[in-house]
Structures are given as C-alpha cells and as structure tokens.
C-alpha cells in the first residue's frame, strides 16, 4: 500500500535526517522502531504530507503523496508525537471541529462520528472537560480519536506511548490493535515492547537509514543461538566491551547484566539466552553504530 522509495531529507542546517529510505508497508500495523533522533518523526511527517523530502518518492496506493498531498490528506489519520490543544475548548467541541476539518459537513454525521469515537476511546465521560486539563493518556486517546475521523486508510501514530503509565499504555495499544486490522497503521516508537506486542511487520530506523526490516518473529528467529548473557560487576564492563560485541547492558540487583552478540558460545561464563525483539533491536543499533 505505502511505498517509500529512496526518500532522503536534509534539514537546512545540514542534518541528514533520512538517508535513502525505501520501505514497503502493507495493510496492518507496521512498527517503526528507532532511538531518539533516528529520523522517525521526519519520516512520519514526510508521509503525513507535513514536509517535502529533499528527494525520493512516496506513494500510497495510486496517490503520489509528494505531488498530490491534498489527496492523501483525505484519507489520512495522523497523531503527531507532540501536540497541544486550544485553550478553553472541550474534547467534544474540538473533536467536532476536527470532524469538520476532515470533511464531515453534515452535523448529524458529525454527531455520530464524535459520539462514537468518544465512546470508543473511552472519553465519553469527560467529553465536556477542557482538553487542556487532560492527563497524558487521555490526551493521547483524544489524539487517536481525531486520527480515526472519517475512516482513514492510512493512520500514522508517532511515539504515542511515550510518557504513558503501563495501564494507559495498555489501553492505548488495545485501541490501536482494534483499528489496525483493515488499514495501514504506522506506529513509530522507541519502545520495543510496543512493536512486539502489536505489529506483524516492523523496521528499525537509525541514523536516518533503515537498518532492518521484517516480521518480528522472523527477525527474532535470525538471532537464535547468537545472544549470550552474563552477569558481571560494573568494573568489568569496560573490559567486556573491549572484548565482546555488547549489545545491551542493564542493572539487576546492583550487578550488571550484559548481552553480547556472538556466533558461538564465547565461554567465560556466558549463558545462551532466548533472544527477544529487544536483542534484535539492540544488536541492530550496535551494528549501525559500528558502521558509522
């Protein structure tokens, strides 16, 4: 459905945010995983017609997004990474206004849309409250509600779970899962679990380039038998980094747990671990850093 070909973007200050990104995204949830500053938001905004890439093409179905952004916008739902709200406006009124902007002219249809979305996003009981007073989760749910107006074919959600508490995050992901069945949903995030929980397909973006692409399970399968774990003291970490390809470290009960990537057992007390998507992700990042 959504085809990106050789998309590059260079900001006026010289930052190359996207570097020949080529992606093909079918219907369903697509996870775009990457660390902060990888170019995820640039990519999302480019697809959402908010900025024109320096080069490359973006097509959605038969729509040339760059030449004809107006057509894509008719079928686009977009939840930006960060958004504010007008002061002194209630959730209901704002959603109603957004419905007009999306092109629902009849007030009856608009009422149906707004009411149903408020129920669906579990905001019905607070619909008369000013948006400015919403909690982070409520605000994100409002964000997805507005993105769903008018049955878009393409939904872009940029880092929607950042800053949400686990319960809110769950609620939000469930909501996404519901809608992700029939349309293209691109979910960008730096949280591995978001992708592993939701997305049948994913890509890893780092330093403006697609580092990895595929189905999470298949990717995990590729690392099977190559991830090793050891618990060490913090003082040993530098030495370990010298010696092995450490893909992640975390603290556990005061000691450091390291994962390393190796084709065979490095010995020295390393134990094989069943790799998760996190290991795939971190090993990809580690490789991209080395390449850079």
């Amino acid at each position: 459905m959504l085809e990106l070909k050789d998309v590059s973007h260079v900001y006026p200050n010289g930052t190359r945010a996207l570097d020949h990104v080529t992606l093909s995204i079918p219907r369903g949830m697509f996870g775009l995983l990457g660390p902060n500053g990888a170019g995820k938001s640039t990519l999302m905004r480019t697809v959402a017609t908010l900025q024109t890439p320096t080069e490359g093409t973006v097509r959605f179905g038969d729509i040339d997004v760059i030449a004809d952004p107006e057509r894509l916008r008719r079928t686009l739902g977009y939840l930006p990474q960060d958004f504010g709200v007008y002061p002194r406006v209630s959730a209901y009124d704002m959603l109603d206004h957004m419905a007009v902007l999306k092109g629902i002219a009849s007030s009856g249809e608009r009422r149906t849309t707004v009411e149903r979305l408020l129920v669906q996003t579990n905001l019905w009981s607070v619909r008369k409250r000013a948006l400015a007073g919403f909690s982070g989760g409520m605000r994100q749910r409002f964000g997805i509600a507005q993105a769903l107006i008018g049955n878009p074919e393409l939904i872009i959600v940029d880092e929607p779970t950042a800053g949400l508490d686990p319960e809110e995050r769950n609620r939000f992901l469930n909501l996404l899962a519901e809608i992700g069945e029939h349309v293209v949903v691109i979910l960008s995030t730096h949280i591995v679990d978001d992708v592993s929980d939701l997305c049948p397909l994913m890509a890893v973006l780092a330093a403006g380039r697609i580092q990895l692409e595929g189905a999470p399970l298949a990717l995990i399968e590729k690392t099977r038998g190559r991830i090793w774990m050891k618990v060490i003291d913090r003082s040993e970490l530098e030495a370990a980094r010298e010696k092995y390809e450490v893909i992640s470290t975390r603290l556990f009960a005061g000691r450091t747990v390291i994962h390393v990537l190796a084709d065979k057992d490095p010995g020295e007390g390393f134990a094989a671990v069943e790799g998760g998507l996190a290991d795939v992700y971190f090993s990809t990042l580690a490789q991209s850093r080395r390449a850079a």
């Binding site: 959402a48 908010l50 007009v100 999306k102 629902i104 002219a105 669906q120 409250r129 008018g150 049955n151």
Partner: protein
C-alpha cells in the same frame, strides 16, 4: 553574590538579541527625528537641541521603550519556567531576594545601557551639517545628563518594576504584555483627558508616570530664551512626580519579591464537574460516517471562523482592550469638543470624527495583535501537525482567520457606536441618526478594518515569527504617520490610506465620499491580492522558511487563486489609473514641498511689488452664477478703479487665484505686459498713466470649479449645500500683498529667503497707504444666482429676487461704503427675522439647527444697543448671520453679513445656564467688527489688528460683562491668560507689545482681552469708550492714510489722569509686561474687641520681557486690588457674598504687608484676586489665611 548575579544577568541580557535590536531601533529613531529638519523639534525660536526639546522627545520615547524594558525584566521571571531550568536554579541555596532583585538589577541596567543610545544619537544628529545652524544651540552635557537621570533612568526603573511584578504574578510573557498594553492605553487616556482639562493640570502632572506632563507643566509658560538656556527646576510638580513614581516602582519591586514563589504553582483543579450520566448507547461496531472533504467547504469556513472568533472573544486580552477602548472613546465623547467651556451637541457629524480619532487605535491594535495570534495559533498551541494533516484546503486557513479578525473588528465598531449612543443618552440627547452612523462610520471604517486585518494576516504569513510580524506592522503604522509629514502624501502609495472626508450636517458627506470610495476600492483590490498571496504562501506542515514557499508560488497560482488574483490586479490597476487621472491630471497633486516651493517662488518673484502705488476698487459690479450641484461658479464682473494716491500710476498689477478654472480680464486702455499663470499674476502697462483721482474700468470673467476628485484639499468652499466664497477666491485683486507667504523662519531659510517676513514698522508712515487686508472702501452691486431651492446672499441690501428656470437670482446693492472684501453664500436655509429699532436682524440657518437662533438674535440686539450707545451708529439697516458647513470653525464678519460656522454656536449645547455663553460671546465679537474693521480698519503695519480684533474682543467682553456680571468674566480672563502665556512660548519670530502686534492671534485676541479689561477697570469703561469714539470719528470710512494703533494709545493717554495710569498704558500697550504678584501666608488675629487683625504680606514684581522672552525686572508702582474673602475666588460657588473687602492699595516692587481690621475672619486673602494682571503664576495670588 548579589553583584555577581546582577553582573551575570547584565552580560546575559546584553547577549540577548533584543538588546541590540533596541539599540539599533532607538538609535535610528532618535537620530532620524533629531536630524530631520522637517520634524518639529524645538520649534519657533526654540533650538532643536535645547535641553527641554530633547527631553520631551526622550520622554516620548520612554513610552515605547517600556516594551523593551519589559522584554528584559519579564524574561528574568519567565525564562526559567519556559526553559524548565527553573527547578535547578531554585534548588540552589540562593535567596529569593538575591535571585529576583539581583536579576532585576542586571536586567534594568541592561535596559538603561541600551537607552543611552538615545541621547548619543541625538547628540550625533545635532552635529549633522544639513541642520540649519540657527536652529541649534550649544550642546551642553547638563541637558543630556538631566534627561538621563531625571527621565530616562527613573522611567526605566519604574516601568521595569511595574512589569516585573506583572510578570511575577502572571508568569506569562503574553499576560505581561497585555499589562503593558493596558498601561499604555491608560496612559494615553490620562493624557488625552489631561489636555482637555487643563484646570487639573497639576494633578495630571503628578500622576502621569513618565513625567512628560510634569515637564510640560513646569515649562508651560516658558519663553524661547528660557527654553534655550535653562534646565527645568527639579521642584514642585516635577519633583513630586518623580519621587512618587520611584516610590511606586520600589513598592512594585517589593511586591514582586514578596509574591514570588520558588515552588511551582500547582495545577488548578478542573472546574467542570464530573459527568456521571450513563455512557452513550452506541454501536461501536457500525462503521463511522465517511468524510467527503470536497463538499465540506462551507461548513469548514463557518466552523473555522467560529472557532477563530471564539478564540478572540474569549481571550481576556480582548476584553481588556475593549474596556480601554470604551473608556478612551467614552471620555473623549463625554468631554467632547467645546468652545470656551460651552459643549457641542452630540450630533452624528460631530461624534463620528471623535470616535474615529479616539476609538480607531483599538481596532488597529486588535487587528495587529490578533492577526499574529491567529496566524500562529496552530503552531503556538502545537496543533499544527494535526490540523495541517487534515484535508482542509489551504484557503480555509487564511480566509476564516481574516474573516474572524474582520468580524471581531466590526463588532468592536458596533460596540463603539453603542458607547456613543450611551453617551448621547447621558447628555440627555436621545437622537441616534443611525443612517449617518451606518454610512459615515460603520461602512467606511468597517471596510478599513477588514483591510487592516488582511494586511496584518499577510504580514504574519510572510514573517518568520509573530514578533517580527508585529514589528513590521508597528513600523507600518509609524510610517503612515511619518511619511505624510515628509511630503509623501499620495494615498496611491500609502497603503490603505484614503482622502479625508469632512462631515457636516448641512452638506452631508458632500462630494468627498466619492474619491474616498474610489481609493477604498483600489485598496480593496490590493488587499484581495494580498489575501491570495497569503493563501499561496501559507505555512503548512513543518516547513517555516519563506524561500521554498516562494518557489512553489507560481505553480500554485493555477486555478482559482490565479483567476482571483488576476481580476483583483485588473481592478487594482484600473482603479489606480482612474484615481491617478482624477488626482494628478484633472486636478493638481501637490506635496507640502510643492506648496512651500510655490510660496517661496511667489515671494521671490513678486514681493518686491508690495508697496507699489496701485488704484483702489471704488465700485464693484459682480454677477456670480453658482451651480452647487456640479461644484461650479461662473463669475462676470467689473470694477471701477480710482487712483487715490498722490502720484500717477503707470502699471496695474492684477492677481487671480491660480487654481481658478479660467480667468479673463478686459482692461481698456492697458496693455498686458506680462502674464504668469503659475501665480495668476498679470501686469498691465497703461497706455496713459492714471492721474491722481482718475478712474478706469476693468471687466473680468472667471470660473471656479472642481472636476473629479483630489488626493487632498477637495473644495470645501464651493459645495453642494452651504457655499461660502469670498471675493479674493473668485475675483481679481489689485496689487501685491504679504498674505499667504512663508513665515516660519527655518522654512524661509531653507528656501533662501530672508529669515523674516515682517510687516512695516509702526513708524513707517508710508505703510498707511494701505489697510492690512488690502481692500479699499467701495460700493457694490452684486447679483448671485443659484439653484431655486437655495437662498443666495451677498453683502448689501437685497433689491430684487426672482425665480426662473429652476434658478433663484438675487441682487444686493450697497451704497454705504463697504470693504472690497465680501462673501458670497448659498444654501437651503431657513430664516428667522426680528425687527429691532429699525434694523432687520436675520439668522439664516440649516433648518434642523434652530437651537440657538433666538440666542443669537438676542446677542445682536444687545450688542447693537451697547455699540450704538457707546461707539456710534450702525451703518446698515440689517444684520445677517449665515450658517456655513463644519469644514471650518470660525465666524467672520463681512459688511452686514456674518458667515458663522455650523461648528460653533449653531449646535452649541446651551441647555446648562451655568456654562459660559459662548454663542452670545462670538456673536457679539462679530457684530463688534461692524465697527472695528468695517468702519475703521488699521494700516498695513504693526499693530493693525489691535484696531479690529482687540477692539472686537473688548466689545464682546463689555456685552458679556453687562449681561452676566463680573463673576463670569473672571473665568474668561483666566482662559485668555492661560492661552496667551502658553502661545508666546511657541512664537516663531518675535513677540511684540500689543501696539506692535504683527497679526499674532495670541496677542491681539488673548492678550488684547486682558489688556482692555484691565484698562477699563483702571480708566473706567466710559473713558475707554470715549477714546474709542474719537478714533472712530476721525477715520470712519476713510481711505488712506489708514489709522495706526498708536493713535488709539494716544487717545487712551488723553483719558489717563494719573502717572500710574500713564505707566499702566505704557506697560500694557508699549511693552511686554509680566507681573509676579503673590500672597505670602496671610494671618488673622482675634482682637480683644472681637474684630480681627488681618495681615496680608505680599511679594510683587514687574518684569519687561524682550521679544525672545528674556526678562528684566522693572520697578512696580501701581494701585492693585487686595482682597479678603470667605471662599477662594473663582472656585465652586464663589460670589459677591464671599467678599469681605476688596480695596486698591498702592503697591511697589518687593515684599510688603497690608493690614486690615475686619469683623469677620477671612479664610482667603491676597493681591489681584481676579487675575486682571498678566501673571505667570496666577494661582498664588490668593492664599488661605492662617
């Protein structure tokens, strides 16, 4: 610690771009205004760089500078919250005092440092070689230092403290700036009321925050000499004002420190109650309605506009602005325009200009401010990514935002009308004239408002952020004010400007609306183009740079934007061409430079002929055909010229108004020697010189008309209803005079003219050959025709009136000699006649304006009685007063005919009997001119107008004195005194003693009133009138030699009986005399016999001033009133019953005491309690008794 924090803050702020922006802007402004000769700094004989001139400009800058100061100090408070750095800073062991005051000191110091560019720029500008050295004085460091320490620094500290506390309390840059705006408007309101109510000047001086009013009060009566040499004394109102505001500033700072909390403010609890209604029954599985963006345009437009408008209407800043606007215009309307304290009825044509003046500023601020807010709103609220990703078409940003701003502006206009109607009700004048408000206010101003909104939106959509956009708009506003002053005055290139449309009840909007609406159409087309460009360049998405948007522009022009822009461009070019054809081809477009150049060239070429002996017009026959509906007048006429001089006249100089559509002159027996069409100057050589006493005939045909419309200066004399022309405007003049030439010294020098154009000296007897209006005594036969529904009037007795072919023709003949200076009038008049002692009194008035007609008739009747009894018989058998439209605010006396403006008198509100009766006063003054100008007229030399204007003032004062008693007179005299003292400071040439007055209004009117009133107090009214009669009898209707002012002074001297009176005449007429009379702490002691011993110590002095204002003390020896009262004279209900005793006592220079024994204890006592003498401090004459 404190010093280090302040130092850090200073260095930090100096790196702030605002610091350098302020330095650049204020350097340029201060340099530009000081170095541009056209900017009226100083003025008259006051140097451009006189200390007070510079201080005034500096203080004016301080109003604008507070926006900069606020940026510095508010930043201190707000930046830590905005950057989120606050928590870290505040968790250090720093104290609140160190943190806040240290930073405040640093920021205020930065503001003060940047401010210093203002005096530096001024000093630098004063060195510029193009400035006329005569307008500059020495550059003393004292003036600059005084300006900095008395005004610059305190103003910065005070405004810094006030807005520091605003920022501390609101923790928001926006709200702080709303406070700044509110402060500015409150200041503006205070100052405007202050100028309308000078009697409370000291209070305004104390409370006006920048010290501008206090400075003005301190130097209010200063002379040019004082301005050029002195620094204002730091005492009295000025000192109190400075200390008061420094104290207020300190209090604000203390409040800020006290109220500042290091802890974050907790989130406010949500006010909306939790809804516990059941969840909506909704079939969540059913598909949502589909979006059809293509057909939602109208709904999108409406919804967007509604949302945008709500944002404005609900924003507190809007309410603040509206409240301030209402206050400002409400006060402006309530006090309205008045004439010697008589208010004017709040008619639509009076109220609308006031509303346009006082309210207009607020909609403009709103359009500029909210255009920025709305254009940047999505971005500021971080909503832009969501909204920009919707299928909303691009026009649905620009158009609704513009529409919202426009609708808000129009609703503010409606609101201002409601205020005006409310004020009308408050004035018990329940007439609303809705149609006029609609056509003259709501519609034109509404259109202008929409255009401002479009322009502001356009600027915002181009600028990189809203602050730049605001800055550009402010510059634009300043430019529209400054450019016309610099001679760039064509409304074709001054964006959104339209020609002035004077309003009048008599003539409605005249023809003036036609040109104005063509200009409006032109600017509407311009705005449509701007709107399309804003649409095409709209920032959508995250790209904010202009260049990429500009590159896309040509491509985006395809389709309807291109068509609309093309049509608008067509309209713009089409209307522009039509306007240019009207203003520059059918009519002449002249800048102020063109006009000055014209005057200068005229003088260089022809002033040399001014004393040339010329024949006098001794009979005039005139036939004036007025076509008021097409602004056309055809004039045929003939003169009989008589040589009244003692010599033969070989050449006759004939002048016509060069703006006449045509002028032909037939002069038998003469040959045209030269004809100069630029100046309308013809010189004829007579075939045979005219011998003394010989007469010749001359015939002429002229036409005055206006075709099309002008950029400015549409004809307001020849109009559809209410024409008022004088013969100088339509008929030839014989000989050259000095009228209409450049008089300002600096301007004259700029054009290489001698610095002064002065009338002949009083001693120059050759100047008695002409009178000062250069019109001799003549007989007249004037026929005026006009459309049938109008009444034509000219001086003389009406001998016939006929109506034929839709035209009314009337013939007026005067065999009594009249001056060859007369009026032609025509309007749809109502008439009211009264026959009084054989004289027909008539008022011709606009039918709805009958409010004061009887009062005018009474004034004429009373005046005739007094003048005939005391001066001599009235020369005609009728007096006519004729209303003319509100395009000028004067009354003018021609022979038995007095054109009288709609603006004064006819619509005066005389319902309150306690107010001064200005209608009677003006009427009596004009009637007085039938003697003083139309029986005798002064020679064309110094002192000429003393014989007409001063004596007409005196005549009116006597009428008022006898009608209303002396108590009312004191209010008049005080007003005259204040006007005289203030006006002499702005004298551009040289102040003259009254007998040498050079047509200076403040001398012949205001000082003249004071002089004549004191004179009749001292000599007696009968003695003064006797003297007047002698001069009248000698010169009545006589030609050259015309009378000189000193002949009247001599007549007064003959009536004077004592050396004191002779001295007084010297001081009043021959010198510029300033008295300083003051009471010093009078006391009263109870005597054993129950009476009171009263002591009144006084300090009395007399000074002679030079023409430039330098004073030297002279010995005072006079008898002046000393009074004891039980109330303050002139205040409240003071009247005769409050007078215990008032006696004239011999007074000499210096201190002395007077002793009285009274039965009642006086509460007030003093010298010259009624302000008969010219005294620069008239309020210390009387003091409370201790």
């Amino acid at each position: 610690m404190f010093a280090r924090i302040a130092g850090f803050e200073l260095r930090y702020q100096m790196k702030n771009p605002i610091f350098w922006v302020a330095v650049i802007i204020f350097f340029l402004l201060a340099f530009g205004l000081t170095a541009a000769p056209v900017f009226p700094l100083g003025g008259g004989n006051v140097h451009r760089n006189a200390p007070v001139s510079l201080m005034r400009l500096q203080v004016a800058f301080n109003l604008f500078y507070m926006f900069i100061t606020t940026a510095f100090v508010a930043n201190v408070v707000v930046r830590d919250d905005e950057t989120g750095f606050g928590a870290m800073v505040r968790s250090t062991p720093i104290t609140r005092f160190q943190y806040l005051v240290g930073r405040f000191a640093g920021a205020a110091l930065a503001a003060a440092l940047a401010w210093l560019v203002i005096p530096i720029a001024m000093w630098f500008a004063s060195l510029m070689p193009w400035l006329d050295p005569d307008t500059l004085g020495p550059n003393g460091i004292g003036g600059y230092a005084y300006g900095f320490f008395v005004f610059g620094l305190p103003d910065i500290l005070v405004t810094a403290a006030i807005f520091f506390v605003a920022a501390t309390l609101t923790r928001s840059m926006m709200w702080t700036y709303v406070c700044v705006l509110a402060f500015a408007v409150a200041w503006y309101t205070l100052v405007s009321i202050g100028t309308q109510r000078p009697e409370y000047g000291d209070w305004f001086g104390i409370f006006e925050p920048f010290g501008a009013t206090a400075l003005g009060r301190t130097v209010r009566y200063w002379t040019p000499a004082e301005f050029n040499n002195l620094l204002p004394p730091l005492k009295g109102v000025l000192l109190i004002n400075r200390l008061l505001w420094l104290a207020i500033g300190a209090a604000c700072l203390a409040l800020a420190v006290n109220r500042y909390r290091f802890a974050e403010a907790g989130a406010k609890p949500d006010k909306a109650e939790q809804q516990d209604e059941p969840a909506l029954e909704s079939d969540a599985s059913a598909p949502l309605p589909e979006a059809r963006p293509g057909s939602a345009a109208w709904a999108q437009f409406r919804s967007r506009t509604a949302v945008e408008m709500k944002q404005v209407f609900r924003s507190p800043a809007f309410l603040v602005l509206m409240a301030l606007g209402a206050l400002n215009s409400g006060l402006g309307l309530w006090f309205g325009r008045d004439l010697f304290g008589t208010p004017t009825l709040p008619l639509a044509h009076v109220v609308i200009p006031v509303l346009r003046g006082s309210f207009f500023l607020f909609p403009v601020i709103i359009s500029i401010y909210y255009a920025g807010e709305l254009v940047w709103r999505e971005r500021d609220r971080r909503m832009h990514e969501i909204v920009d990703a919707t299928p909303l078409p691009d026009w649905a940003y620009v158009v609704p935002k513009t529409a919202a701003v426009s609708l808000v502006l129009i609703s503010t206009l409606v609101f201002s009308m409601v205020i005006a109607f409310g004020i009308n009700l408050g004035k018990e004048w329940p007439h609303f004239e809705l149609g006029k408000y609609l056509l003259w206010y709501l519609l034109p101003v509404g259109v202008e408002m929409v255009m401002y909104a479009i322009l502001a939106v356009f600027v915002q959509s181009l600028s990189p952020n809203k602050y730049v956009g605001w800055g550009v708009m402010v510059l634009f506003m300043v430019a529209t004010i400054v450019l016309p002053l610099l001679g760039f005055s064509h409304n074709l290139y001054l964006p959104l400007q339209t020609p002035n449309e004077p309003l009048s009840d008599m003539n409605g909007a005249g023809i003036y609306w036609i040109g104005a609406w063509w200009f409006r159409l032109y600017w509407i087309a311009f705005c449509i183009i701007l709107l399309v460009v804003s649409h095409l360049l709209w920032r959508r998405g995250t790209e904010t740079r202009l260049m990429p948007r500009l590159r896309r522009l040509p491509h985006r022009l395809n389709g309807s934007p291109g068509v609309i822009a093309g049509l608008a461009l067509l309209l713009f070019v089409g209307t522009g061409t039509w306007i240019f054809y009207n203003t520059n081809i059918l009519n002449h477009y002249r800048t102020i430079w063109d006009r000055e150049q014209f005057q200068a060239d005229y003088e260089k070429k022809y002033l040399k002929y001014v004393g040339l002996p010329q024949p006098t017009v001794s009979k005039v026959v005139l036939n004036v055909a007025l076509y008021p509906n097409r602004i056309d007048a055809l004039i045929h006429g003939s003169y009989v010229l008589t040589n009244l001089t003692q010599a033969a006249i070989p050449e006759v100089h004939v002048r016509t108004d060069p703006d006449l559509a045509s002028s032909q002159i037939v002069f038998p027996g003469a040959r045209l020697k030269s004809q100069d069409d630029r100046f309308g100057y013809r010189i004829y050589t007579l075939d045979r010189p005219m011998q003394p006493g010989e007469t010749r005939a001359m015939a002429f045909t002229t036409e005055r008309k206006q075709v099309g419309f002008r950029n400015s200066g549409n004809d307001t004399r020849l109009v559809t209803n209410g024409t008022f022309l004088n013969n100088f405007e339509i008929a030839p003049l014989i000989g050259m005079d000095r009228n209409g030439l450049l008089t300002d010294r600096a301007r004259r020098r700029r054009y290489g003219l001698p610095p002064e154009l002065r009338p002949a000296k009083l001693e120059d007897l050759s100047a008695t050959a002409h009178n000062y209006i250069h019109a001799g005594w003549t007989t007249s036969d004037i026929t005026v025709s006009t459309v049938a529904d109008q009444i034509p009037i000219a001086p003389g007795r009406q001998v016939s009136e006929t109506v034929a072919n839709g035209r009314r023709t009337a013939r007026f003949v005067s065999n009594v000699p009249i001056l060859d200076f007369f009026s032609i009038q025509s309007a749809r008049y109502a008439e009211r006649h009264r026959r009084y002692k054989g004289i027909d009194l008539t008022i011709y008035y606009h039918p709805p304006h009958d409010f004061n007609v009887d009062r005018m008739l009474n004034a004429l009747q009373y005046g005739l009685d007094y003048y005939q009894k005391n001066f001599g018989p009235y020369q005609f058998d009728q007096v006519r007063i004729l209303e003319f439209p509100d395009y000028a605010g004067f009354a003018q006396s021609f022979a038995n005919t007095i054109p009288y403006s709609e603006a004064i008198g006819f619509i005066a509100d005389t319902r309150d009997p306690d107010k001064i009766d200005a209608v009677t006063y003006v009427t009596a003054h004009e009637l007085g001119h039938q003697w003083w100008a139309h029986q005798i007229i002064g020679a064309d030399m110094q002192g000429s107008t003393m014989l007409s204007e001063t004596l007409a003032q005196y005549s009116a004062l006597m009428v008022m004195k006898h009608l209303y008693g002396e108590d009312q007179m004191r209010r008049f005299l005080k007003d005259e005194l204040d006007t005289y003292l203030r006006a002499r400071a702005t004298e551009g040439v040289e102040e003259q003693p009254l007998e040498r007055v050079e047509n200076q209004q403040y001398i012949h009117y205001n000082k003249g009133s004071l002089v004549m009133y004191l004179l009749q107090q001292r000599l007696g009214e009968d003695a003064v009138n006797r003297a007047l009669r002698t001069i009248l009898d000698k010169y009545k209707f006589k030609g050259a030699p015309y009378p000189r002012s000193i002949e009247l002074v001599d007549a007064f001297r003959k009536e004077a009986k004592t050396p004191e009176q002779q001295q007084l005449i010297t001081d009043l007429f021959e010198r510029i005399t300033i008295y300083d009379l003051k009471a010093i702490e009078p006391t009263a002691m109870l005597r054993p016999d129950g009476n009171w011993d009263v002591t009144v110590p006084v300090d009395t002095r007399k000074y002679y001033a030079s023409g430039k204002g330098a004073e030297t003390e002279a010995p005072l020896r006079d008898e002046i009133e000393v009074g004891l009262f039980t109330a303050m004279p002139g205040r409240g209900k003071f009247d005769r019953r409050n007078v215990i005793r008032i006696v004239r006592m011999p007074v000499h220079s210096g201190r002395q005491s007077f002793h009285f024994v009274t039965g009642v204890k006086p509460t007030y006592a003093g010298i010259d309690p009624y302000n008969f003498y010219i005294d620069r401090n008239s309020s210390d004459n009387v003091a409370p008794v201790k």
